[in-house]
């Protein structure tokens, strides 16, 4: 069916509404990559099997990411008349029991995490049936979140255009094409205060303005989905969970600047995201929401997916464009900016996945609404993947301006196993480590930059007292060093040399002069590199030097690793009083350095031991001790 008029869209929306609230149980499983990795596939199969066996009529949906990745596999159950309940850490066996309960008309207690209040309704019956169950927004993880970009994530079937429409999808496009001029759209985006969510934070409206005014007739839209930070998966999740939101945003952008072709540049390592965005493009085209004469107007816009071949630097916009043109993915100097001269030398509007996903929401609810979220100069929400040594991990969307404290202690629930959180790395390998005593800082572009880090595209890696900051700096630098394209001297030669110094430090072979040299080179790489990758690569080193100088000094002057991580600087011993002689370490030691009779305390031969810490990690009695 081609959507040509508002009433056609209304029909699509009604269909979607029936799919979202059917007169039978609707069971949806969080099946973004995060869920699948936790075993959601097997749970989904078990649910289907059980339902078939019992001949239970239900709607089984493979949804996107529900957010709380920690508790995956997550299953969202909607029973007509009862409301919705979220089940956590589901197993295939649990899934079988869940279906049995549903078949007998009951909601089970087992694995229930929270109930989900439906919009505009009172406490659902599920809350009464399952006494003690809290609403989802009472969980610390969800309490302070505000979902704009992830508004549909985990709620709808990412393959279903009907369900997207039922959640208000394509209303914005309708509004944009039928009631707003391109200029008015750009004005709304400008007034909303939206800034580039890829990390740069450039005012989005201004970028659109510049691009729409650039000379020439042909223009292009690009969605940058080349997300490559270790420990970050925001863009992947948006594409996997709500691809239509990205498409709608890009289409509105195309109308606003006068482009008829858009590209989604997505890394090839995201197969599910690629499948889902391709499917969504196909469906949108079938429905006349992409292609020629969209919504009965004379506006034409199509989108093509281009897969990146796995270079981190291609997330840099000029390198991305070079790669899209079929050339070597390496950055070129700016100006000219892509908004003036981008793909094939034509004005090109390139924004991150999350920026595109925000557009439709802004057009529908108005720029004032969006500007009211967050703080002045930092309007709206941003998505972070909260990972590392923190109790609650997952995908978090917060209004900007929330403090790091609220993020890590509140949403994240503090350190893992009661350990003290030492620092947080924001912005991925290009970001810096912010120490715990600065956690009062708000999460916004200026504060993070001032603290020596960056907002980045949203990675947030939490570190506790067992993390060695020198080791962390070296880990991230290794990543950027290996991902450097090698075009400019500072990034290519400087990063390599910095890595060599850091290696000497963790091996206890560095001198105090090395630290001076490290800082000198780091500053040079930051100031003299050609593109954002090189300019930010030293951030992990500079920020740890700034806040954790004592750890560097301990490594260099005392040849000691305070966190007990650096292999060359620690020794392992077995506490004879605690050791029960179970022999586990003896069997697991990869170099055979542990000796001892059964049920008698074991000892580690220091000459053979490689300090790999296998014994330390596996000892059930915690008898292995690290001498720092």
């Amino acid at each position: 069916m081609k959507i040509k008029t508002p009433s056609d869209l209304e029909k699509l929306r009604d269909q979607g509404q029936c799919m979202l609230s059917p007169q039978k149980p609707r069971v949806s499983v969080g099946m973004a990559t995060c869920g699948l990795a936790a075993g959601a596939g097997a749970v989904f199969d078990a649910l289907r099997q059980a339902a078939d066996n019992l001949r239970l009529d239900l709607t089984l949906v493979s949804a996107g990411c529900i957010g709380c990745c920690q508790e995956e596999p997550l299953v969202d159950v909607r029973m007509p008349g009862f409301g919705r309940v979220l089940y956590a850490r589901m197993t295939p066996e649990g899934a079988d029991r869940l279906i049995r309960s549903l078949a007998s008309g009951e909601l089970p207690h087992e694995n229930a995490l929270a109930y989900i209040p439906e919009e505009g309704s009172d406490t659902p019956k599920s809350a009464e049936v399952l006494s003690g169950l809290v609403p989802i927004n009472a969980l610390p993880f969800y309490a302070k979140q505000h979902k704009v970009i992830l508004r549909n994530s985990g709620l709808i079937d990412p393959q279903s255009i009907e369900e997207y429409a039922a959640r208000g999808g394509y209303k914005s496009l309708l509004l944009a094409l039928l009631q707003l001029s391109p200029h008015e759209i750009i004005d709304e985006i400008t007034r909303s205060g939206l800034r580039g969510r890829g990390g740069g934070g450039f005012p989005t409206g201004k970028k659109w303005e510049v691009c729409s005014r650039a000379a020439g007739t042909a223009r292009f839209i690009i969605c940058n989905a080349d997300e490559g930070d270790p420990g970050a998966y925001m863009d992947r999740t948006v594409l996997e969970s709500d691809p239509y939101a990205v498409i709608e945003g890009m289409t509105i952008g195309g109308y606003a600047i006068g482009a008829s072709q858009g590209y989604v540049y997505v890394r090839n390592e995201y197969p599910l995201a690629i499948d889902r965005i391709n499917h969504a493009i196909e469906r949108s085209t079938e429905c006349g929401l992409l292609g020629e004469d969209i919504l009965g107007t004379d506006f034409t816009f199509s989108i093509q997916v281009i897969r990146g071949a796995g270079a981190f630097v291609c997330g840099e916009e000029t390198a991305l464009i070079a790669s899209l043109e079929g050339g070597l993915g390496e950055p070129r100097p700016r100006p000219p900016y892509p908004a003036v001269s981008g793909l094939w030398g034509k004005p090109t509007l390139i924004n991150n996945v999350k920026t595109w996903a925000s557009v439709a929401a802004i057009i529908r609810k108005g720029p004032e609404w969006y500007a009211g979220i967050g703080t002045k100069g930092n309007a709206g929400t941003a998505v972070f993947s909260l990972v590392g040594k923190v109790a609650n991990t997952g995908l978090v969307e917060i209004p900007l301006g929330l403090t790091l404290e609220e993020m890590i202690q509140g949403i994240g629930g503090g350190g893992l196993a009661g350990k003290r959180v030492k620092a947080v790395q924001t912005g991925g390998p290009s970001g810096g480590c912010i120490p715990a005593d600065l956690f009062h800082l708000p999460i916004d572009y200026a504060s993070l930059t001032q603290a020596g880090s960056i907002m980045g595209s949203g990675g947030m890696v939490v570190m506790d007292e067992d993390t060695c900051m020198v080791d962390v700096a070296r880990y991230f630098l290794r990543f950027t060093m290996e991902e450097s394209c090698g075009k400019c001297t500072p990034c290519r030669e400087g990063a390599r040399y910095m890595y060599a110094i850091l290696t000497r430090i963790i091996e206890g072979e560095a001198t105090p002069e090395d630290l001076v040299l490290l800082e000198e080179i780091a500053m040079w790489v930051k100031e003299a590199s050609l593109c954002g990758l090189g300019q930010t690569a030293p951030n992990p080193v500079l920020s740890t030097l700034r806040y954790f100088r004592d750890e560097y000094d301990a490594h260099v002057r005392e040849k000691r690793c305070p966190a007990g991580v650096c292999r060359a600087l620690i020794k392992l011993t077995i506490n004879a009083e605690r050791c029960t002689g179970c022999g586990l370490c003896l069997r697991e030691c990869p170099v055979g350095a542990i000796r001892g009779k059964k049920k008698a305390p074991h000892i580690i031969d220091p000459d053979l031991c490689t300090h790999c810490r296998t014994c330390y990690d596996i000892c059930p009695e915690k008898a292995v001790e690290i001498v720092r």
């Binding site: 270079a311 070597l328 390496e330 070129r332 100097p333 100006p335 060093m481 290996e482 991902e483 450097s484 394209c485 090698g486 075009k487 400019c488 001297t489 500072p490 290519r492 030669e493 400087g494 990063a495 390599r496 040399y497 040299l517 000198e520 080179i521 040079w524 100031e527 003299a528 590199s529 050609l530």
Partner: protein, 251 residues
Amino acid sequence: MITLTINRRPVSVPQGTLLLKAVEEAGITLPSLCHHDALAPYGACRLCMVMITAPYRALVASCTYPVEEGLVVETDAPEAVQARRLALEFLMSRCPRSDVIRKMAEKEGVTASRFGMPSTEQTDELCVLCGLCVRVCRELIGAAAIGFTGRGSERRVGAPFDFQSDACIGCGACAEVCPTGAIQMEDRGNQRILRAWNTRITLSACPECGRFFTPEPTRFLKKMLPEIETYWEVCPDCRRQKTSRQWLNAQ
């Protein structure tokens, strides 16, 4: 014309001039390896860094920065000098045998590198990855026979898979443009050998004078002089003679 300030003195240059050229206009020589007037700005070697203090304060590579009215530049700011020296030190350490780099470094006051020598198998390295050869081959000659391979510190220049290139026309522009002499070209009989690209090109003998020359005319020449198309089968010298004769006859 655009007026900017370079080291506290006003300088006027046409709009669109690159800062590196404006600095030269002011009588100051900056070290530079990757810039060529005939090629698009590239900004890879980062040797020509200067400090700008207006409209904002930043270190910039002068070879990629277009001049603008009111720009204030300090080539002698300590940060800029330091940035140039570090780049030179690293290039010295990469190519210890390069006289070009050593001399360039001496001019900037660098006599030794603190960053040690490359591993033994690479002490002959002369390539600084300035990309001039790759760009001249692509942008001017139109052959695009060579390109970069590898990433980061493994970046190199070469023909695809280091095989004999079937795109190379043997024009020798890469060897000509190389600032450090890393690309050597040898003519042996009718063979032109480009060792750096593992490539041998069979040259044509000129039917007029018998000298060997590159068979494929460059796209650049074809585009510039389409009217002498009939002369491509003879060597460049005979082409010149023929066209001059034609011109004289016409007179």
